[in-house]
Amino acid sequence: VDFFDPMLSGFEVALHPTNLLYVLAGVVIGMIIGVLPGLGPVATIALLLPITYEISAESAIILLAGIYYGAMYGGTITSVLLQLPGEAATVITTIDGYQMARQGRAGAALGISAIGSFIGGTISILGLTLLAPVLAQFALDFGPPEYAVLALAGVLLVATLGTVSAAKSLIAASIGLLLATMGPDPVLASPRFTFGVDGLADGVDFVALAMGLFGLGEILYNLEHRARAKLGRAKVSNVWPSKEDWRQSRGAVGRGSVLGFVIGLLPGGGGVLSSMAAYAVEKRRAKQPERFGRGAIEGVAAPESANNAAATSSFIPLLTLGIPTNPVMALIFGALLLQGIPPGPRLIDENPEVFWGVVDSMYIGNIFLLILSIPLVGLFVKLVMVRDSILAPIVVMVTMLGVYTVNNAVFDMFIVIFFGIVGYLMKKTGFEPGPLVLAFVLGSILETTFRQSLRIFDGNPAGFFGRPISATLIGLTLLILLVPFALARMRTHRQLSDESADSPGAEKATTRDSVD
């Protein structure tokens, strides 16, 4: 009873006409930007932060969440029809999705990805509904040392599970940690890294930083990489997958959903990583792996189920522990802070309308997406025709004016321009801005809890191992960090012993494989 009452009253929030409108707006915007190659969910959510400031907290998060999981649906459409992934999490779908379209099975591919997305999303919301309250209850016992370990794990795991090199992600993360220290010292209030500039006295504004790195930086980078879509006209005939299609892909949908749910919980895991992992799993366990890359329906079903499941489950660490695990969650963390609601284990009890309203809105949003995605396919495909040369200036101007409205500060506009340049240069030189923004958000939590912990432990860092929960968390983190490393090591080793018999140069070649 304790659990069902607030959950049901969450539906009252979610079904309120205003919020229904925000769910609908969120998923439609999400699908649109999912289709547009120049604009992803991270950039869009960053751009909309100033607007969410004007509406109520639950509506704001309902809208932003809708954009995130909506984008997972939208990105699929262009991946399948045009071999043009609108969104990073659907890149892997192009491989088999586009092949299916070329064989005249575009409808089946889109149909199965919509159904898979719906199932993956819904399984994940069920998991969120059941798991989050338990986890939040558990996290109430956490003290500063546990939070310090969690935040540190967040920073380290994001760096190693990311899509670029671990060292480069760590560099970006350390810069994020340093940027977070700008402004007054959290304990002593003495200024740090302000260099006497008035605008920096309170540190760098999160919204300006995120809009610069993700919004402007992304646009500038894409300007150079303007995607000229080779618009082949794929015909979408029958959008319902046949019985045979369903029989072939239902296992993939199930595995993808569960895998996506689990990866979404991990720091650094999100739509991108989960879709790739799900594809790899299907290919590895397939009886005829050679079908993959030639229009295997499992190659569409698994990643599409996984990216939606992950998009949803990544809300769990944020809403129960207050630890964002990927850039989108970092932005939603920022949006909650803007509203004066610190995310953490108390969120469920203190702001049940936000927690349950958002969770329950996801059930509704997924139904909207299932209903909308199929009939609107034709319309969405036309959106790809919107050229970046038209989209980019509009988005840039929205960024500039939007950031001004948050604090009515001209200084923030310069911050956006500065971080726009930084974001552009980072992408040019092979860095990802994601770990930077995430570490920026986690930085202040990490510093405060780290200093409090040291005080508790009388300055002895070994104290972190003396508390059962923090020691377990350290162990888990090390496990997650080291297992992939060990697995790769084993694989290299096996290859080495296989090949060294054949040629003397094999050893050198395999070692380089594992480095690159």
Partner: protein, 172 residues
């Protein structure tokens, strides 16, 4: 550094870059060296600055202890990347396209100053037009339509709907 997923490695993470991969050349050795050294130098600067803030003791940390820790992390990661990843060619060369981006950034800086003086309407219209016509190579007709409509929509959105106190055009 190895990854658990071989497929993940083969895929570019950015959708738009998927087709342009061969068009933008990879950065040369000098470019990579600079990209590797800058983080280390930044880390050294931050470390020196943090120490100047006073590090304190573990029981009683000064304001500089935490930034110093982060700086050390930055230096270590930077050196790691510099030494062990020098064969990774994940940077891009700066091409002529970069010039347009530089010009675009300059227009934005001018925009901020102009907006404060004459209100946001005219600068918004002009910057949009500049980006559309000269950076985007759109036709004059398209430029006129898109920039005028966008400015009007912004006025409706930010001024009428949100009531944001953005500097506006005033008639003396």
């Amino acid at each position: 550094v190895s990854r658990p997923l071989p497929d993940a490695e083969a895929q570019p993470e950015d959708g738009a870059g998927l087709f342009e991969e061969e068009e933008i050349p990879r950065a040369g050795p000098v470019g990579h060296l600079v990209a590797g050294i800058v983080p280390v130098l930044l880390g050294l600067f931050c470390l020196v600055y943090s120490i100047s803030l006073s590090v304190g003791t573990p029981v009683n940390p000064g304001p500089g202890l935490w930034p110093a820790t982060a700086s050390v992390l930055l230096i270590v990661a930077g050196l790691w990347s510099l030494v062990f990843e020098r064969h990774r060619r994940d940077g891009e060369a700066f091409t002529r396209g970069g010039l347009g981006i530089g010009i675009g950034i300059v227009t934005l800086i001018v925009y901020v100053f102009a907006m404060r003086r004459v209100g946001f309407e005219i600068p918004t219209l002009l910057v949009l037009a500049f980006w559309l016509r000269f950076l985007g190579k759109e036709s004059w007709l398209m430029t006129a339509i898109v920039s005028a409509c966008t400015t009007a929509v912004f006025y409706l959105l930010f001024i009428v709907l949100l009531g944001a106190p953005i500097p506006r055009l005033t008639f003396y």
